[in-house]
Symmetry: C2
Subunit: 82 residues, 2 copies
């Protein structure tokens, strides 16, 4: 399992409830690909959302986000963490 | 105090020791601006580093990063978090 940071753009005006709903949509199906979504942070002003996960590979992260209806714009393998 | 996610680009090939050193350089002076750096994640392949902090404002985060020798390329106020 490796850590990934994925980024979504264009989510300007996102509310706390919407972030919770989209995160829960990921959690509901993450087992299909062996992904564990750990955290999500959102900047509603610029419309940027960051998700931290552990997953077998970047493709697994993207497949869950796609099936949940919100594909990521970038997915980075963050092999170093403090 | 508000949460911020800042992003550094162009750090291709960063090692674990280098990430630790740069993070510790921030920690050593963060009190000057009332910033608390919580985590850092790096993707050495794309050269992207993400730092999560709590701070009075984005300027405080940037001033610490600048004084420590590694200004951020983007700083987002992540007012929503899960």
């Amino acid at each position: 399992m490796t850590k990934f940071m994925d980024v979504h753009h264009g989510m300007t005006g996102l509310t706390g409830d919407q972030l919770k709903e989209t995160h829960e949509a990921d959690l509901a199906i993450q087992d299909q690909e062996g992904v564990v979504f750990e955290h999500a942070w959102a900047d509603p002003e610029s419309g940027t959302v960051y998700c931290l996960s552990e997953a077998p590979d970047a493709g697994a992260v993207q497949r869950i986000h796609e099936r949940a209806g919100h594909p990521a714009d970038e997915i980075h393998c963050v092999s170093l963490a403090i």
